[in-house]
């Protein structure tokens, strides 16, 4: 298409979009799309197996009964569910104040270097192999202070894993609180601690709660540290100073057993664990998104 009188603009040979360049673009686009499809299909396959093999194992007894010895029909994983909840709760009691403190320190005080150092250490703890955390808690608590495997030791190991998750997620949530709110509080003469406790934290409440619950859920999926600390238990036990059952431990013990019924229960327990974590992950996303928009 040429306009009379206009100078013809000639694309130099080296800049032409040749068939070869077009083909390279097409091939690479298809390859990248295939990589995405592969990643997504892994999710479908793994979640699919967990749902299909896990669902048949779920019934009332699964949630209310304790594990039966092999050969006895029925039974469930209630001690493991309760143990995971109890250890998660104790872990939260330890991890939330520390994580919240670190988050407020990093977000509200912006103490420069110090805030950066705390954040960096949190990231390093998050990157520690969880089995090393288990060895640490064993040496710290199980060996001498308590003298036996115990639920509270498991809880401490989970707390170490939760602290960086709480600290970093809450810091992010606190940053979403509009600075106008803080300034308004300060302008009214409120001291900083009141602004933080009565304006910033309540504003971010939904996000903080979800972050904490998500941290519990993430920690609840940990197995290796619990093997070295809580050990597991086939009986109901609420005493944190004695060995305690947990869902991931139950999954492991059932999985490596030679019995089909126990394999089915391992899949069922996995389904319960994954479902709980997925629900919490989705709700965290919804909360942080509605706040940021």
């Amino acid at each position: 298409m040429t306009v009379a009188g206009a100078t013809r603009f000639v694309v130099p040979e080296s800049h032409r979009v040749t068939a070869r360049r077009r083909l390279a673009a097409l091939v690479m686009g298809v390859l990248l799309g295939a990589a995405t499809l592969l990643a997504a299909s892994l999710l479908v396959v793994i979640i699919g197996y967990v749902v299909v093999r896990g669902l048949p194992a779920l019934n009332l007894a699964f949630f209310t009964d304790r594990p039966r010895p092999f050969g006895v029909e029925g039974g469930g994983v209630a001690p493991a569910i309760l143990g995971s909840l109890e250890m998660g709760a104790i872990a939260a009691l330890i991890a939330v104040p520390i994580g919240l403190g670190a988050a407020i320190f990093a977000s509200e005080y912006r103490a420069g270097r110090w805030a950066g150092a705390v954040r960096f250490c949190a990231e390093l703890i998050a990157g520690l192999p969880s089995v090393a955390v288990g060895v640490f808690v064993w040496a710290f608590l199980v060996r001498s202070v308590i003298g036996s495997y115990a639920g509270v030791a498991g809880a401490l190991a989970l707390a170490v894993i939760m602290i960086p998750i709480v600290a970093r997620t809450v810091e992010e949530v606190l940053r979403l609180v509009p600075s106008g709110l803080r300034e308004a509080g300060l302008a009214l003469g409120a001291p900083r601690w009141r602004v933080i406790l009565m304006i910033v934290l309540p504003t971010a409440r939904a996000g903080i709660v979800t972050a904490v619950v998500l941290a519990v859920a993430r920690a609840a999926g940990e197995t290796a540290p619990l093997m070295l600390t809580a050990l597991g238990n086939v009986f109901f036990n609420f005493d944190p100073l004695r060995p305690m059952a947990a869902l991931p431990l139950q999954i492991y013990q059932y999985a490596v057993s030679p019995y089909d019924d126990w394999h089915a229960k391992a899949w069922g327990s996995s389904l319960v664990l994954v479902a709980a974590i997925a629900v919490l992950a989705v709700s965290l996303r919804l909360v942080t998104r509605s706040r940021s928009r």
């Binding site: 520390i98 705390v118 954040r119 001291p191 940990e222 991931p248 996995s270």
Partner: protein
Amino acid sequence: MTSRADRVFAWSVGALALLVPLTLLGIALLLLVDAWPSVARYGLSFLVTTEWDPVKLVFGAGGYVFGTLVTTAIAILLAAPVAIGASVFLVEYAPRLVRGPLAFLIEVLAYIPSIVYGLWGFFVLVPFMRTTVEPALQGTLGGVPLLGALFSGPVVGLDLLTGGLVLAIMILPIILAIAREVVSAVPSAQREGMLALGATRWETVSRAVLPYARAGIVGAAVLGVARAFGETMAVTMVVGNSSTDISPSLFTPGYTLASAIANQFTEADSELYFSAIVEIALVLLLVAIVVNAAARVLIRRTGAAREGMIL
């Protein structure tokens, strides 16, 4: 009055925050103390000698180091190209409508507990490897000189190759999530300039976007390596845990550092045995700290936005 209350509050928040570095320090120190008998006795040879005999009280973790390096290498070689490719696709190619949900779905994979990957690997992947993949590999590549040695020996399914594969699946969403952040953080002027010059989409990606994001993408992959290195349960369930021999075959039912801890921790009946196992934990800890620190520095250099996400 208020200034004093303010100071008290600030100090208590600071004290709580201080517990974070103290925890890290405490873990490192306690492990060092408990590992000391083994560290003092074996020195660096602990990492290279392969004889691990609790009965004779001889401990060399070389076989475990080898298993960890092999599985980690398999994992990163398989996972990194797929994860980086998918992250580029999600940011540069995918329609806006599917981009968010698809990225989120894949990131959900990162939340799945490792024991579930282990369960899936044990009951689904291992039989599949034993009956289908490994015989096929042996049949096609087994005869090739040199390369064939990788696929020699009996086919069991519980081996280093399967361990590496499960690790690859586990670290894929982690690399993907971070690489996606890094690629999103590339300024759009970078792309627009290239497109205005008449470049195709792939040329824009390969010459304007990827070079800009290189440090961060490498950081994402390094973070994946760190995760694979210390991962315990999923690997323990599929890696075999029976041979500490250093053999070229990927079909060796090997051991990794982390699976050695998981399998033997409760069996350690002498001080030196226990100390040797704690030294393995110490090695994992030190490697994790160094590798994670390097990865964070690389990722931060590209100015990726979401530092708050802990994966």
